[in-house]
């Protein structure tokens, strides 16, 4: 089948302003959108720039707006989006070139929530693992799936409106540690999330949950953080 890609283009070394370019080419209905992008780069315009690596939805490189919605280009097939496909960079982060945005503010927010395991108590005397029940492990399973692709954060109107807002991805990663019963810094993290850039900026629009390619129940996780903040309990 013939597919027409309408792609957001911007080359800061040449263009005063961004524009769209269209490319019509042959594709299989089962091709990934990424496969078609690669073809454009190979045979239509080598300068077209985008990030990609694993090509099967686990590395998080190729999040972009596909027909207006945040998706991974490698995790959506042509037949699922139709033969007129508009590709644009993520919103809310500065465009560097074509579909590549500046990820630094995104990672800076992630780094603010102490996204690492903290347990300063001595390890078990036998040197083996800390014991954790399957139920306790299941408590935070969903939020361990995050691949930091930024699809959620850049779909969030609160993030668009306020760069200071940590955004759903950072909150998901805070949740992953706060609800891990082996971790000892939940109070410190909850305190961090309680200020104006934290969970109160979430207005439960569910855009993040809709956008997550890993199907993490993000709004639910943020709700659990809000509840923990109010009750002081981790349930």
């Amino acid at each position: 089948m013939d597919v027409t890609l309408k792609i957001f283009r911007y080359n800061p070394e040449k263009d005063q302003k961004w524009h769209y370019e269209s490319y019509t080419l042959e594709a299989e209905p089962t091709d990934r959108v990424l496969d078609v992008l690669e073809k454009v780069k190979a045979y239509h315009d080598g300068s077209l720039s985008f990030r990609r690596s694993c090509a099967h939805g686990v590395c998080g490189s190729d999040a972009m707006r596909i027909n207006g919605r945040n998706m991974l280009a490698c995790k959506v097939l042509v037949k699922d989006v139709g033969n007129a496909i508009t590709l644009e960079p993520l919103l809310g982060l500065k465009v560097i070139k074509d579909l590549i945005v500046d990820m630094e503010p995104f990672f800076d927010n992630y780094k603010k929530v102490l996204p690492f395991f903290i347990n300063e108590s001595p390890i078990p005397k036998d040197g083996k693992e800390r014991i954790q029940s399957p139920e306790a492990r299941a408590r935070f399973d969903d939020t361990t799936k995050c691949i930091l692709c930024a699809a959620c954060t850049t779909s969030c109107p609160s993030f668009w409106g306020n760069e200071e807002y940590l955004g759903p991805a950072a909150l998901v990663n805070a949740h992953r540690f706060i609800f891990d019963d082996r971790d000892e810094s939940a109070p410190e993290r909850l305190h961090l999330l309680s200020n104006a850039s934290g969970v109160t900026r979430c207005h439960t629009t569910f855009n993040c949950t809709m956008a997550c390619p890993r199907e993490i129940q993000i709004t639910k996780a943020i709700g659990e953080l809000k509840l923990a903040m109010v009750t002081g309990k981790l349930e």
Partner: protein
Amino acid sequence: MKTHQFEVVVVGAGGAGLMAGLYASRTAKTAVISKLYPTRSHTGAAQGGIGAALGNYEEDHAEWHTYDTVKGSDYLGDQDAIEFMCEEAIQAVYELEHMGLPFDRTPEGRISQRPFGGHTNNETGKPVRRACHAADRTGHMILQTLYQQCLKNEVNFFDEFQVLDVLIDYGKVSGVVAVELATGEMHTFHAKAVIMATGGHGRVWEITSNAYAYTGDGTAIVSRRGIPLEDMEFFQFHPTGIYKMGILITEGVRGEGGVLLNNEGVRFMNEYAPTVKDLASRDVVSRAMYIEMREKRGIGGKRFLYLDVTPPTVNKYAEIDGRTNPDGSPIKVTGEQIMSKLPDIIDFCRTYLGVDPITQPMPVQPTAHYTMGGIPTNKFGEVVVDEKNKAFPGLYAAGEVACVSVHGANRLGTNSLLDLVVFGKHAGLRAAEFVRGADFAPLPADPTAFSREQFDRLRHGSGKENVFDIGNEMKAIMFDDVGVFRSEKGMKAALAKVNELQERFKQVNVQDSGKIFNTELLNAWEMGNLLDMAEVITASALNRKESRGGHAREDYPERDDKKWLKHTLVWKQKGKLKISYKPVVITHFKPKKRVY
């Protein structure tokens, strides 16, 4: 041009690079440089588990793990290094848990383990639960955990910097040269020690489970500077890639009781590996699948077979095989349990195939997966550069880019994650120790000259040739002729073709003249690396006139220990390849016939 100075520079930020960075930075000023954001690294795609004889469900020993790995390697692995890795494995997994890695748990709250191909109880020969797992995203959890710990310990990262060259002069390392993707600017990193941790080169083949980033950069870079490459003919084809796409379906599917079926519905692995059946080593299963397909038992006559993990099939074969739960009760899995153990696999199949593995079998074919060969090192991660294993001061390698060799001719599942954690750590520790007693070697007068020259060549060709066409031709012939089965005739044709493509590659011309994220230029440079690797792989394979592990020759179907129980070393000198060999280290296990 900018110049930085660090005592230790780590190239690559997957599992091995992060582990090396974490340990080196404890005492030495360290930088980790990566062409990707660290969390994009290919370690994150590893699914099934990391091997360690914890014995959390049943009896297991590091010695059994050692023997299984030696046997899996078809006796080409160096036994001192394998023994070291399997002993270190236990502490390494506990250490990951102490860093917060969310392993799945046993009912008692210990790290959960599942069976995996080639891992056995050495007394009964039956599969043993040795793979420590976090659902089917164990690699993702290792990558995330190590990156998080690096942030905690304030490791210096240079993200989206492509390393182009290692500065080696007069037998000394003085650093690396990298281009910053966002600006196109060249950076020189002056260093006392360099650790290469750049991963493999599975993008040489058409059907591959490997990321776009897996272009053999590290091996290509050091080989241009006179360092040899070891055992490059050994590359693993994983039995179960999604048909046509190559996306990996973890061996954990078979660990959870899934079986391979042909077009007659027959569970054919019975015939090829009567004891462990579907859980034989990967090379054995991939070859069995090729033979089935050749005998016209592929599904619908096509080049794929079924992998079936639907509960009725799993329960049926568990009963036939006499497998039970750890408490002795009969195995009766439900769709829900399969879903909880293999969520990502099920998601992949639904997304890419529209197939639901809970109710339907998955179409699979062997897919290029893992680089057993690489930069020769000893068990401390030091790069060794001749037949006598002379260490090159200041140069280290770890993870898939390295060849210790612990995988020999065929790697066991779960040993790749283990390899990168264990040897990443030791390379980091060794490098940090080395820099305490070493001075900075002087930088060359024009450190970026060779890097600039490589880029210039890609910008000044006639433009007659297209990089992608060249790549596709390479991938096709490598998959057909230097894949699961090989022969002299096919490999000679492949080598001639690769050499022709290398010539034609001189005619490519990168159109994008910009500096900012010039991915066209970078992709072309990567293709040059892949072509160089295809040449080394094919030449090494052509020379080895026997079948061993992942190197299966139709014209020499038997293993020949008399002539070929040795490691290949290849140097690229003035455009020509020089091949030599070095002995395999054998400690406890004398080579014998390999039967599963």
